[in-house]
């Protein structure tokens, strides 16, 4: 049973090894000539505009919230997809009703302009 997850374990191992290896190797063989400019925080080489510790707009939050709700909708699709052949037309109509109800919500979100970045 657990042997089926060996590729996942290998993938995690490679990811951790690469992350740790990059940091350790650059610390070991990298050149170190620190200066005030080099040690300053940077973003794509642009001069800093201000502190990152600022209050963010609620616009980010609504996107995250809608993401969760439609994410949960997607979760329901997994057991349905696995059972699709065995459920037949009945399951198709069931999921159709489910999606249709959520489609009303999606149209509401769209028409309300909640996806607009005004």
């Amino acid at each position: 049973m657990l042997e089926n997850y060996l590729p996942v374990l290998v993938l995690i191992g490679i990811a951790v090894a690469f992350a740790v290896g990059s940091v350790v190797m650059s610390g070991l063989i990298g050149m170190k000539k620190p200066s005030a400019v080099k040690l300053a925080p940077y973003e794509c080489g642009m001069p800093l505009v201000g502190s990152a510790r600022e209050r963010f707009s609620v616009k980010f939050y609504i996107i995250a919230m809608l993401f969760i709700l439609f994410d949960i909708e997607a979760v329901f699709l997994y057991p349905w997809a696995v059972m699709f052949k065995r459920l037949g037309m009945f399951g198709f109509v069931e999921m159709g009703v489910f999606i249709a109800i959520l489609l009303v919500g999606f149209i509401y979100v769209w028409k309300k302009g909640a996806l607009e970045w005004e």
Partner: protein, 167 residues
């Protein structure tokens, strides 16, 4: 081998759960919480519930964590919440000790170690975990499943109304 993996993952989950409360910076706490969620997903895989593991990663480690981090950013706790919080530590210790005793008693009594009902580990293994959930959800629990869509619809409308209000 499996027991060793269990103890390793359990150790990681307990340590990361401890650092969720220990970290001064709320963003670090959130990252520790992701580690705890991932460990729980590994537990679900070990319990032969791969669908639960997938949900744990998709919904909790993915979506819920995004929401938590956005709350931290919205409230900007990063700059104010650095003071040490020692309130109610004694109460927490007593409470967790009591719940540990209760859990140990249940496990020793064997009431939670055995599967109840007609779905045993063999059935799950032969039929498949996701298939069993799908079968139950789309035949026996059809109405709750459709009601869930109404619930999600209400949540969508509520989220839009709350955040789009003009202030």
């Amino acid at each position: 081998m499996e027991a060793m993996l269990f103890y390793l993952v359990a150790l990681v989950s307990v340590i990361s759960a401890f650092f969720v409360t220990k970290c001064r910076n709320p963003i670090n706490s959130a990252l520790c919480l992701v580690t705890t969620f991932l460990c729980l997903a590994v537990f679900y895989v070990m319990l032969q519930a791969p669908f639960m593991a997938a949900i744990q990663i998709m919904v909790y480690a993915g979506a819920i964590m995004v929401l938590i981090i956005f709350v931290i950013m919205l409230l900007n706790i990063g700059s104010v919440g650095k003071s040490r919080y020692t309130h109610g530590v004694a109460g927490a210790i007593v409470l967790s000790f009591l719940s540990f005793i209760v859990a140990a008693k249940f496990i020793a009594g064997g009431t939670v170690s055995k599967a109840v009902g007609d779905i045993s580990a063999e059935v799950v293994q032969s039929y498949g975990h996701t298939e069993l959930i799908g079968k139950a959800m789309f035949t026996e629990f059809l109405l709750p499943f459709e009601i869930a869509s109404i619930l999600l619809l209400v949540a969508i409308v509520g989220a839009v109304i709350l955040s789009k209000r003009k202030v």
